[in-house]
């Protein structure tokens, strides 16, 4: 009978489905995967390095079963969002931030302190890291972050531009400047028409504070005096840097205009010597630009190299979900164990020492150059006012760059503004 047949078949189907569901539910693997939490992770890796982070997160999820919901937000917006979201208990489980952001987020209660017992239990030890990066995770004696990598400056030398300017040896290799005099001489030789000899910064070189800070540190100056109570930008060493900042555009006429896109100019073969961040070099390779990476030249007293380490942090939660916190720790541990992959693919030198001797890393000429600068690394000062002081600095140094304001008046005004910053 057709009815009977149908009923029997439906019963068999239902029995089969029930058995299947039970088997799935009882499967230990399935049970384990369901128990793994999903964690939220915010970072500002909006460039080519973001895709590499995606790959590594996929790899991490395959290895551990922990899923990550990632939000990539432009750094400046990420910091504003953290400041809003965390007090509303809407912050992520894990956030990657720059070292200089730690003091103000820590003092505002946005970040969770990490107990020494927790970091050591997870296998994070000071001796495994380069000291400056490990120290960068501390604020007022408490640890708030574990470092990942060390974005830093280096000198990009455009081979074609150098050859066209007659600045290559008989072997075709470009000459590499190491001092201020050499930089100025070569840059003057390169600059012609719409081709420029020298620039610091990716876009808007006039207001590139990271480059300005690099020069300050090379001259022994800094934004704040050692006690953080007043600005050090009124000192003669800072003034000397500001004068150089204005001179490259107005006196030597070797640098592109204040709002130029130096990265595009370098790719287009219109810029010869370019001090910029290490995050640019994978993009230059993709664009098939013939370039050589060299250490940042010593333009002032000492060969200091600007760095801005990325740090893993736990934004504060009203009630910590232990499973999610463990999962976040697991990711930080996993990334630290696989950081050589990050270095090789994203071009960011590890804050951990171990990958520095990895033969794949040392075989890469650019990474080798970056590692060679390790002894000269310096980062921003650990004060909550650092970021606000940096924001104030931008228009002031741009005015100097375009010759709108004399260096002395600009620095004195900047120091006054920084000293007036509210607590």
């Amino acid at each position: 009978m057709p009815h009977r047949k149908l009923s029997s078949s439906r019963r068999r189907f239902l029995e089969g489905a029930a058995l299947g569901a039970t088997a799935l539910a009882l499967s230990p693997r399935r049970a384990s995967a369901q128990a793994k939490p999903t964690i939220t992770y915010w970072n500002g890796l909006t460039g080519a390095d973001g895709k590499i982070m995606d790959e590594l997160i996929d790899h991490f999820t395959r290895d551990t079963g922990i899923r990550m919901e990632q939000q990539r937000i432009v750094w400046a917006d990420l910091y504003a969002k953290l400041q809003v979201a965390v007090p509303a208990d809407e912050g992520p489980d894990l956030a990657l931030i720059h070292t200089v952001e730690i003091p103000h987020f820590a003092s505002d209660g946005i970040l969770e302190p990490m107990a020494d017992s927790a970091t050591s239990a997870k296998g994070f030890k000071a001796e495994d890291y380069l000291p400056s990066t490990w120290q960068g995770g501390l604020y007022q004696g408490k640890r708030y972050a574990v470092p990942l990598d060390v974005p830093q400056h280096l000198l990009y030398v455009n081979v074609k531009v150098m050859r066209d300017a007659g600045l290559a040896g008989t072997d075709g290799k470009p000459k590499i400047p190491t001092t201020r005099d050499e930089v100025l001489a070569m840059a003057k030789q390169i600059t012609k028409g719409d081709t420029f000899g020298f620039a610091i910064g990716t876009t808007n070189p006039g207001r590139y504070t990271w480059g300005f800070h690099n020069l300050l540190w090379q001259n022994g100056a800094n934004v704040y005096a050692a006690d953080f109570k007043r600005s050090g930008l009124g000192e003669p060493a800072a003034l000397e840097v500001a004068e150089f900042w204005g001179a490259i555009q107005n006196q030597h006429k070797i640098a592109p205009p204040a709002n130029a896109n130096c990265r595009d100019a370098f790719i287009a073969g219109k810029l010869g010597l370019w001090i910029a961040g290490s995050w640019n070099f994978t993009g230059l390779r993709e664009a098939k630009v013939d370039f050589v990476a060299a250490p940042v030249p010593r333009l002032f007293k000492q060969a200091v190299v600007w760095t801005m380490p990325h740090q893993y942090t736990f934004p504060k939660k009203k009630a910590v979900d232990a499973a999610k916190r463990d999962a976040a720790w697991a990711h930080v541990r996993w990334m630290s164990d696989h950081v050589a992959e990050w270095t090789l693919k994203a071009g960011q030198v590890s804050a951990l020492r171990k990958p520095h001797t990895d033969s794949r890393v040392t075989a890469d000429p650019v990474l080798r150059t970056l590692l060679g600068q390790a002894g000269q690394w310096q980062s921003g000062q650990a004060t909550p006012k650092w970021v606000a002081a940096e924001n104030i600095t931008r228009p002031v140094i741009e005015n100097v760059y375009i010759g709108q304001k004399p260096a002395a008046a600009a620095m004195s005004d900047l120091a006054r503004q920084i000293n007036a910053l509210p607590d």
Binding site: A80, N399, P422
Partner: protein, 295 residues
């Protein structure tokens, strides 16, 4: 005669229909406005739960904030300098298109197209066009032997570059409004004027312009309000630079609230000062352009 109860119910009916809109308006407009007013008298900082009443301290601080003063002057400069091209360029184009030129529909769409783009897209496009090293404008000007300058890095030209970008962006929008106004003017008026011997210019001056007065008022008021709140173009094109040459009030406010210490109290005070300025200008414009022309 309707019973009193029924009449009362009838009187409530319109408010019932208005209620959803009014509730949304109260929650998302009035409440934030009043909350902002309260914050302007406190030392509120984004992310901090506690804040204290500080009286007029935030307003007093604005008197010493030289960058706020520069921002106000720049905003006023932008508003005044951009008003004439914003009023004139779309009007000229609308009058031309209203005369039935060839490809009228295509041209109307072409002029309107930029307005469909987001401010970031517009800004990035013009940033590239005006790039001092690799931008097309630099290339062609140099090829034509014209001295090249960095429009956005020169304090004397940066604001004009922003105005140019804005005019290119919003012309299509105002053009459509002008066209609607022009099509509202009865044809008989032009015919009568022609019979009386009036030429094209005379008709434009004596018929078109006076009858477009309500449209002018709308364009002027919306443009001035929008100009005082200019942010997107400046943020993308110059970030307030060179130096502070194009820094505007909203950018200063944004940086105070979201970049420099998250000082919501100070930023709210700036917002209220801006509100009062915009209100004063809007009332002034309504007063100056009130009245109605009829034939």
């Amino acid at each position: 005669m309707k019973p009193r109860r029924a009449r009362r119910r009838g009187a409530f009916t319109p408010y019932l229909f208005l209620a959803p809109g009014l509730v949304l308006f109260a929650v998302f407009r009035v409440y934030p406005l009043l909350e902002g007013l309260w914050l302007s008298f406190t030392n509120a900082r984004l992310g901090r739960a506690q804040h204290a009443f500080v009286g007029s301290a935030n307003y007093v601080r604005l008197l010493d904030d030289t960058r706020f003063h520069v921002s106000l002057v720049n905003t006023a400069y932008y508003t005044i300098a951009s008003t004439v091209p914003i009023l004139a360029v779309p009007l000229v184009l609308a009058v031309a298109l209203n005369r039935g030129v060839a490809l009228r529909t295509f041209l109307r769409g072409a002029f309107f197209f930029p307005f469909t783009l987001s401010v970031v897209t517009v800004g990035l496009t013009w940033l590239w066009l005006l790039d001092p090293v690799i931008g097309p404008s630099t290339y062609y000007l140099r090829a034509a032997g014209v001295p090249v300058r960095s429009w956005l890095a020169d304090p004397s030209t940066a604001m004009w570059a922003i105005i140019l970008t804005t005019v290119w962006w919003v012309t299509g929008y105002y053009l459509v409004i002008y066209l609607a106004g022009l099509q509202d003017i009865p044809r008989e008026l032009y015919e009568a004027a022609a019979i009386d011997g009036a030429g094209g210019w005379r008709s434009f001056w004596s018929i078109t312009l006076p009858l477009l007065r309500p449209v002018f008022l709308f364009v002027l008021v919306t443009h001035v309000i929008g100009s005082f709140q200019i942010f997107g173009q400046v943020f993308v094109l110059t970030n307030g630079g060179p130096g502070d040459a194009t820094r505007t009030v909203v950018q200063h406010l944004y940086e105070t609230a979201f970049q420099n210490f998250f000082h919501f109290g100070s930023a709210s005070a700036m917002a209220w000062v801006l509100f009062v300025v915009i209100l004063a200008f809007s009332l002034l414009q309504f007063r100056l352009l009130r009245g109605h022309t009829q034939y």
